[in-house]
Symmetry: none
């Protein structure tokens, strides 16, 4: 079912508010069978709303329109909708009952604005609003359908769940859309594409999106068809092919972060970790402790930013820093070993590098150079990385790389 989302609101067009409503609606309705082909944002302006309805009904059978229905925003949306369907608002007894019940539950009085809220376009069905006074509206004519909802997120969200979702599922009879996201790290988008080889052959008519971020590239497979089992088999076949080519660069699926995957591994194997951070400045510890239950495996971190703290807290010999430099394989290794010993942990991980923007000395030690140290009972070592520029991006990339090293060591991957 080809569908368009129209969001109404000046606040969206000046960038004051991020359009989370559109993302919410799209995320809910796509798996229910709506094929969202466009999202359009227009001002709180009657002609603009009217024109967008006109244009979008040329493209789609279903339009979900949100915003401009509340008591403060007047009724521009309702006016535009009435004009489009050549109808007029009339007082609705059904709407009156809903609004009355809402107000009574909260001990609010009936006001003039409530009188406005129960004016519903003739011919529209009412969509109840559990959390506010503006009812939603449903128009159905000539196989086209318009659903009008308020823009307040929690009002709109429960109306989507309670009413729109079942409605779309019934209408979109049969059509199945399945998705799967595989998360990779440690490989650039172009290199990953090369590894996957002939993508059209791999996909056999289905879709694959590359979604890059500083911490890695997500691969999203989308399969659609009329039969669920066929779609499921296709999806699985594509996933298997991608896994066999991207191999260990894949660390997780869907919304899973690397720190969650790593946390699970540490927990399963009953291992404790400690971190010694210089250039990442606490970001690794912060990520690890974002995971609920991380106190079971995260022991401690030392953010040794100054050389003094490296020698005093982490016992890195002054002589080593002097001869090799703070950003070196030797210091990284020593930091990882020390923090493991100090913390009586099973695994020590460390970072030392140049996050910039100043402090680099190319060509040997440019901004973005980071040494990551790793230590466990079997030994201690360090790996060199070059993470480009941008202070916070370098911190992000180095943190992700450090966690990925631990993941690979635990899994015995190289």
């Amino acid at each position: 079912m080809k569908s368009v989302i129209i969001t109404v609101g000046d606040e969206l067009l000046i960038g004051q508010v991020v359009n989370t409503n559109a993302a919410f609606i799209a995320e809910k309705l796509t798996p229910a069978g709506a094929d969202i082909i466009r999202i359009v944002t227009v001002p709180d302006d009657e002609p603009d709303i009217y024109n967008s309805l006109n244009e979008c009904f040329k493209l789609a059978d279903l339009i979900i329109l949100t915003g401009g229905l509340g008591p403060t925003h007047d009724d521009v949306t309702r006016k535009a909708v009435c004009k489009y369907f050549n109808t007029e608002p009339v007082p609705s007894e059904e709407a009156r009952q809903y609004v009355l019940r809402f107000l009574q539950q909260r001990n609010y009085p009936w006001t003039e604005s409530a009188d406005d809220q129960i004016m519903i376009p003739r011919g529209a069905k009412i969509i109840p609003n559990k959390h506010g006074t503006a009812p939603g509206e449903l128009f159905e004519t000539d196989g086209k359908c318009l659903i009008v909802l308020p823009g307040v997120p929690y009002e709109m969200e429960s109306m989507i769940e309670d009413f729109v979702l079942p409605y779309v599922k019934t209408k979109a009879h049969g059509r199945v859309i399945l998705q799967r996201t595989l998360r990779t790290t440690g490989i650039a988008e172009a290199m990953l594409a090369r590894r996957l080889g002939d993508i059209l052959e791999l996909l056999g008519g289905e879709k694959l999106a590359f979604l890059p971020s500083p911490t890695g590239v997500r691969l999203r497979i989308t399969v659609s068809g009329n039969e669920r089992t066929v779609c499921e088999e296709k999806l699985q076949r594509i996933e298997e092919r991608i896994r066999s080519r991207a191999e260990n660069f894949i660390y997780g699926t869907e919304k899973e972060e690397l720190e969650e995957v790593l946390g699970r591994l540490l927990r399963e194997r009953n291992l404790k970790i400690a971190v010694a951070e210089s250039c990442t400045g606490g970001l690794i510890a912060n990520k690890l402790t974002n995971v609920p239950g991380s106190s079971l495996y995260f022991e401690s971190a030392v953010v040794a930013y100054s050389n003094r703290s490296k020698t005093e807290i982490l016992k890195v010999p002054e002589e080593l820093i002097r001869s090799r430099g703070a950003v070196s394989s030797e210091v990284a290794s020593r930091m990882a070993l020390s923090v493991r010993e100090i913390s009586a942990a099973d695994i020590g991980i460390s970072t030392t590098g140049i996050a910039g923007p100043s402090g680099g000395s190319p060509p040997e030690k440019p901004v973005g150079l980071v040494w990551i140290g790793y230590s466990d009972v079997k030994g201690t070592s360090a790996v060199k990385f070059q993470f480009g520029d941008g202070r916070t991006r370098i911190k992000e990339r180095a943190s992700q790389a450090a966690m990925n090293i631990v993941r690979k060591k635990i899994l015995g991957i190289e």
Copy 2:
């Protein structure tokens, strides 16, 4: 200048990604004089992009189009744009230089996909991309202008700042729109509104937006008119009134984060800081070290998550933890004092609390309870906070509150 933003990407239409790019662009370009009349999201599909260009140029003089410029197969923006302007991609020596420089800085080899990236539509000007291999493109014909940018946020953002913003300012002469953001922390939105009193009288016809986040409420003033000096005076008058009422809850302006303000204070007064974190898990250190030049005043942090690390690294007496509990005024104070001494810093700050979701024991120690310790040469103390729920929100709020305590101590406020 009537403007439209077109964002390209299947991931937006299925709700996997929230369209923060559109909000970023709108927020930047509105005060520069662009009147954003529509935001449109279309799939990674050539005819869809082509059609949206066609439609939107009927409405607007300027289109900013992002997404679909990367090196993989689903990036079809360039084809659609070529078709629209009836041109073709040709290898660009200028683009080759940019991409080459980008790859060399990172020690990446030149690949086939780089060959693709330097194919620029004939007639387009190149917009350099500091952070990636996909250059932007600028088309100008018959008073209409199209700007094409990659969809990766940090690449797009710096191209907006460096190129698009000055470009739009030059084109949009006349109407003056001035904005000013004042950042507050430590006060809830409703309390802040109450402090500001009669807002309509305060604003005299101009606009004020309350923008709440877990770390504080931003107040954005917008003044518009035809004469710059008149607008500037109005803006200043409103700012002064707000400052006289919100007083020390305001810590900064515009995009300034508390860690930057605090960093400046520490630097000016030549003070060094050290941090002992339990429930914030490294977030304070991470925030402080996000600021370029923070190595001048940030000495070290100890993330003492386990009780063992509190006693071993921070020398908190075991007896104290046993008798008072790890989440207590006494332990917070002792952590702040210890980390200051260990690090030979001027200021020590600490957190210990319950970030949840488990581990709370109401009513005395519910999730969200956090003690923040502060220590300097004049003395050591701790303050109790209750930060509600949500693990990462509690970490955010506690980190912000801790930094705000240091700011107020340095400024002698309270």
